[in-house]
Symmetry: C2
Subunit: 244 residues, 2 copies
């Protein structure tokens, strides 16, 4: 059973405005929902079109409500719904200043890239990501899906990035096209790693705060013009992780 007011709430959550207002987000797919629950994300609603054994979801609070395919179609963000949809509370962020290393994103736009970056942070042990206000929203359903549960384990902060960078006392490592090779880098115990927009890179008003310019070198005769921002983030975080 799903009420009309629940349907209205959930279809509202398809839009950022209402996700912000209610501090909730949508996740779809049985595996993703289980992973979010296991990671401590606060579940508020849980629906399925599948018939399940009572023993599968013994804890009543976390047991899905059976709804029709038609109702699922209404509340789902996906064209072909998986049959599993849940609503979770957005995490309350803890204080950033306690964290030795932070990843900062200047205007990353693609939800798939954002999800992949959150998954990389989770893998390499970065717990906090700071984003410029125009970076894609972390609770965008496409980000949630591609983060594969990492959204529950990595905290994402939206800030006025120029101001935030200006107040940092840690070194700021920026990925640029003409920086130092990674073999020449000493990674300190604390710092910020700054990555830029897919097409534009890091904008000048943020780039001015970079203390250490990094470049991922390729073959001299290479044809590929650039690495995708998620790929570059993966390579840099791996290198950082090896030197921690």
């Amino acid at each position: 059973m799903i009420s009309n007011s629940e349907i209205k709430l959930i279809t509202g959550l398809h839009r950022k405005k209402y996700r912000d207002l209610h501090n909730l987000f949508i996740a779809e797919g049985e595996k993703l929902i289980k992973d979010l629950i296991d990671s401590g994300a606060q579940l508020t609603h849980f629906y399925t079109t599948k018939s399940i054994e009572p023993s599968d979801y013994a804890d009543e609070v976390k047991s899905p409500v059976l709804i029709t395919e038609r109702q699922m179609q209404k509340i789902s963000v996906q064209k072909n719904p998986s049959g599993w949809l849940a609503i979770f509370e957005q995490a309350k962020n803890t204080d950033l200043n306690q964290v030795p290393w932070v990843l900062a994103l200047d205007d990353v736009q693609d939800p798939g890239n954002m999800g992949t970056i959150l998954r990389l942070c989770d893998w390499f042990g970065i717990t906090h990501v700071v984003c410029s206000e125009d970076t894609v929203e972390a609770y965008n359903p496409k980000v949630v899906q591609s983060s594969m549960g990492s959204i529950a384990r990595v905290q994402v902060h939206y800030v006025l990035l120029d101001q935030w960078l200006a107040t940092q006392t840690k070194p700021i490592f920026g990925a640029v096209l003409d920086g130092k090779s990674l073999t020449d880098i000493d990674w300190p115990k604390q710092g910020v790693l700054l990555m830029g927009n897919e097409g534009q890179g890091i904008r000048p008003q943020r780039a001015q705060f970079i203390t250490d310019h990094l470049t991922i070198s390729g073959a001299p005769e290479r044809g590929a013009e650039s690495l995708n921002v998620a790929m570059a983030t993966g390579i840099l975080l791996h290198q950082w992780h090896l030197n921690q």
Copy 2:
């Protein structure tokens, strides 16, 4: 002007069977087509729905033929055609044995992963990729699109991978879950880097040939279960490149 027999040829090329038969492949998008031409790929047909200045394509052989939107819709692989479509000859592969380092793929299935891997090879200077016969076809239109032109600069060989690995005298580095950390690896001057399928990894009948087992270590308390095969390839090729 496009003839009915050309339309028939091109719609045939949507299928692997006819790509193999004719040794041709489809590329869509103005930038990609230009990049392939610049990389020396042999153009056989070129169509556009856009009105162009004669000076844009001065070389008559490489000048696109104007067709209608309706015709483009017929020949395009894409739901929303870009308005630019070209046919190229598949590259003739040169001898593998002359190459110091080869990337080998065991059953990589996702066209986007394959395209990204070709782009990474192009970036880091790997010129030859060896694939198991069940690996996604490199001339699949989705691979061509996501390789962003790298398909013209990286040679892809389909082989009976068990047999091919068995005949190698070079060390075979395999990405597995319980191998050595990358900091402990000495990369020799010649070798094979073997990557596995998205879900299954490297299959046992291929894994038996691995001489050096590699693992990308993450944070001990990480939540993310694994890295995507394209991301893992990027991280490993970067590490390899740093040590060349």
